[in-house]
């Protein structure tokens, strides 16, 4: 436990030493903080309407102005971050968990099972994500859970393939052969010996996937097919803002800026994490 804590500390220190990594860490930290404490931070109820005060510009009372229904845009941006992470975190980590499990089984298991799982991954990957999302939304209706399901389903093959490749690389390593010769079970080999060697790569991949998922949720909400109104989301803000861009451009700023920041933050963090976790992939400096 002590060892793992020091490893985590080393990773954080390693990321913090990289300027882009530090920037990513700060941005992600702020987003996560705002999402967790959203309802203590927001100055107004994000869904409370005040139609008389609609489409106001930025002021001391409303930092990013108000929307068509007089709702405080800043409060909706903060609350929208919560929605973005509510979609992104379960979707990405869910996909990672399932992909990791299936990928390790494919890499370590019998050939027929490997072929079957690869066929499964390839079938899912053959669907364009957005088209798949639109089809699912049309079938079961838009909701937070629908977006999570779509993202999770379409991301599993990516994690599965990486996990499989890593497992294939490690399966004939000496320490694995030694474990097998001592009669260790498959579960023990995969869980105790393989997993710690694979999880780092997948964690980096997950960090880099989070902004993609946030953008997908925003995209679906922009199309009106993401979370249901009146739930605030960055994509819904963009959608509202787009139609009113000539009346009040602040909605587009409010919806667009956090998406840009989240994308940059998670990307910088992911790249830096990759450098620290896997020095072999370190970029040329």
């Amino acid at each position: 436990m002590e060892k793992s804590r020091s490893e985590l500390g080393q990773i954080i220190v390693g990321v913090a030493r990289d300027p882009l990594g530090l920037m990513g860490l700060i941005i992600v930290g702020v987003i996560v903080f705002c999402a967790i404490f959203a309802y203590w931070i927001v100055p107004y109820d994000p869904i409370a309407m005040d139609i008389k005060s609609r489409m106001q510009g930025p002021s001391a009372a409303h930092l990013l102005g108000t929307d068509q229904l007089g709702r405080d845009t800043f409060s909706r941006v903060i609350a929208g971050g919560q929605v973005a992470l509510k979609v992104a975190l379960p979707a990405v980590f869910g996909a990672m968990a399932i992909g990791l499990t299936l990928g390790m089984i494919a890499g370590y298991g019998p050939k027929w099972l490997d072929n079957l799982l690869m066929l499964f991954f390839d079938t899912i990957r053959s669907f364009p994500t957005v088209m798949f999302a639109l089809a699912v939304v049309a079938l079961i209706g838009p909701s937070l859970q629908t977006v999570v399901f779509v993202v999770m389903a379409t991301s599993i093959p990516t994690y599965g393939r990486v996990a499989r490749t890593q497992t294939l690389t490690l399966r004939n390593s000496e320490f694995i052969l030694a474990e097998r010769s001592m009669g260790a079970s498959m579960a023990r080999i995969l869980g105790v010996h393989m997993l710690p060697n694979i999880i780092g790569v997948l964690a980096v991949l997950a960090a880099m996937d989070i902004p993609t998922v946030i953008a997908l949720e925003a995209g679906l909400s922009f199309l009106g097919l993401g979370v249901k109104p009146p739930t605030p989301s960055w994509g819904a803000l963009l959608k509202d803002g787009y139609s009113l861009i000539r009346q009040t451009p602040w909605l587009v700023v409010g919806g667009g800026l956090p998406i840009i920041l989240a994308t940059l933050g998670f990307t910088f963090l992911g790249e830096s994490l990759r450098d620290v976790v896997d020095p072999k992939l370190r970029k040329q400096r």
């Binding site: 068509q68 229904l69 939304v137 838009p142 993609t212 097919l225 109104p229 000539r246 009346q247 790249e271």
Partner: protein, 521 residues
């Protein structure tokens, strides 16, 4: 994902030069260069919300096609521009209803078709009208021709339109709108009976010169036109779907006329850029909150009435239509026979009454879904309704649907509440036709069934006394509202802007009649 930082091959000096030039260009008044060029070039540039679909009146897609058809074809009668609905002679030199089922007409002797297809004759009128009701042609606009039986040709340019039974909308839909366009029989038959997107034979004051799909259509003045000379040499029609884009194009001087978004009305009321003018016309569209009478959750009439009284229409209009639209009293807009001065339920909410009705209904913990199209206006309306109904204890869950799924809702038995908007032609017959019993589950999504309503729909279309007809349609709307299935919201509005170069000619509902557009200076 990896972000590579690449040094752009632009030096500091070059960057500053470029930025300065860009700044200077942006300092010019918007559209300055274009306006100077366009000031007196005889070209009228207008925006249409959609691109041409067909030059065949039988397959016209609607108002966007009709804008062109009305320029290149003629009808017996045309809509008269102005604030009151009316018609004026076009290709007809005389037209007269001799009895409820017979209309005599005579054609002008100076209208001919292009491409050598000769003068317009009564045979052309017969062919044009009868093909609309021909089963083989399967025209999408057949209902507009109502009870047409046939056209009798009594002379080269004389004939009689014969109806199976009286059909009042003949004068407000069939003759002056899409189905009234007269095409050349010889030209259409030479094309196998169908016309596509290329003109075969034209007869109007303008001729279709070119069409670049999704870009523009160019109409040029017809040199052989013998009627009043149109003011503009050329009309360029630009298909621009998005109203924000159209507004930018107008403000940049790229177009002279466009419908604008309701959200922009407040801004244009203060000032229209480039010396332009804002015209606010009422629209014929009707928007309402519907409740599915067949759904188990909405069987209780008191619950439906509670919902009717809990919805505050003025607040919805302020939020979703920026106070640029007025509350409606039904499905028939002001200016048309049958419009009601007031509905049975006032537009303002009465929460006390709504709460009392809900208590009377005995319903508790009511949760309903509200289906809407994924457009900003509906989303805003739905959220306001959600907040209003929450005040009386009714929980609303909003289902946002993309257009394919939404417009397939007719046969959705699980539909509970829906925000809907239908288009309209200038005759009440068109409005009531969607709410008859045989339309239940098709376009009648509330599944409203009422024998008296069905009877009124049939009888009113045959009634030629406008006073009696109006009372019949008013009663029909009373029946709709009494059912509790409808909360009427608005007929919207048609705000348009035009440049000072143009004197627009508009129908009372704001749709342009391009052939009558004049010059401002």
């Amino acid at each position: 994902m990896k972000i590579e930082w690449i040094k752009a091959p632009i030096g500091r000096r070059n960057f500053l030069k470029g930025a300065t030039a860009l700044g200077a260009a942006s300092a010019l008044p918007m559209g300055w260069a274009n306006r100077v060029m366009a000031a007196d070039d005889g070209v009228l540039r207008v925006r249409s919300y959609s691109d041409l679909r067909s030059l065949d009146p039988a397959y016209s897609g609607g108002a966007f096609d009709e804008e062109m058809h009305a320029c290149i074809y003629n009808k017996l009668i045309q809509f008269k521009p102005g604030d009151e609905w009316g018609w004026q002679l076009d290709a007809a030199s005389m037209i007269e209803q001799v009895d409820p089922t017979h209309i005599k007409f005579a054609l002008r002797d100076d209208i001919g078709f292009t491409n050598g297809f000769g003068p317009m004759t009564a045979e052309d009128v017969k062919y044009s009208f009868e093909r609309i009701i021909d089963e083989e042609i399967d025209s999408t606009n057949k209902p507009d021709m109502g009870s047409l039986s046939h056209v009798e040709v009594t002379g080269e340019r004389e004939g009689t339109i014969v109806l199976n039974e009286a059909f009042a909308p003949l004068w407000s839909i069939a003759l002056p709108y899409i189905t009234g366009n007269i095409i050349s029989k010889a030209a259409a038959e030479a094309e196998g009976g169908k016309i596509g997107t290329d003109p075969v034979a034209e007869s109007g004051p303008y001729l279709r010169d070119s069409w670049n799909p999704k870009e523009k259509t160019v109409l040029k003045r017809n040199p052989d036109w013998k009627g009043d000379t149109p003011a503009w040499d050329t009309i360029e029609i630009y298909p621009i779907d998005d109203e924000n884009t159209a507004e930018i194009a107008f403000e940049a001087g790229e177009i002279d006329f466009t419908r604008v978004s309701l959200g922009a009305v407040e801004r244009y009321r203060e000032e229209v850029p480039n010396g332009g003018t804002l015209i606010e016309k009422p629209s014929l569209y009707y928007v309402w909150l519907g409740m599915n009478l067949d759904h188990p959750k909405l069987q209780n009439p008191k619950l439906r009435q509670a919902i009717q009284h809990a919805v505050d229409v003025p607040t919805i209009l302020e939020a979703a239509y920026f106070s640029a639209a007025e509350p409606s009293t039904g499905i028939i807009a002001p200016g048309l026979a049958g419009n009601r001065a007031a509905g049975l339920v006032p537009p303002e909410a009465n929460l006390e009454k709504a709460a009392a009705l809900l208590a009377e209904s005995g319903e508790t913990n009511v949760t309903l879904t509200l289906d809407i199209l994924n457009k900003n206006t509906y989303s805003a309306m739905a959220q306001v309704i959600q907040a209003m109904l929450a005040q009386i204890g009714v929980t609303v869950e909003i289902n946002v649907l993309e257009s394919g799924a939404f417009w397939a809702s007719g046969d959705n038995e699980d539909l509970q509440m829906v925000l809907n908007r239908y288009s309209m032609t200038p005759d009440p017959y068109y409005a009531t036709s969607w709410f008859t019993s045989d339309q239940a589950g098709v376009w009648n999504w509330e599944r409203f069934r009422n024998d008296e309503f069905d009877e009124i729909h049939v009888q009113a279309s045959q009634e030629t006394d406008q006073g009696k007809r109006a009372k019949m349609y008013q009663r029909a709307q009373d029946l709709m509202e009494e059912s509790g299935a409808y909360r009427f919201i608005t007929h919207e509005a048609t705000p348009v802007v035009h440049s000072s170069r143009v004197v627009p000619a508009l129908r009372p509902d704001g749709l342009p009649l391009l052939r009558y557009f004049g010059k401002g200076f």
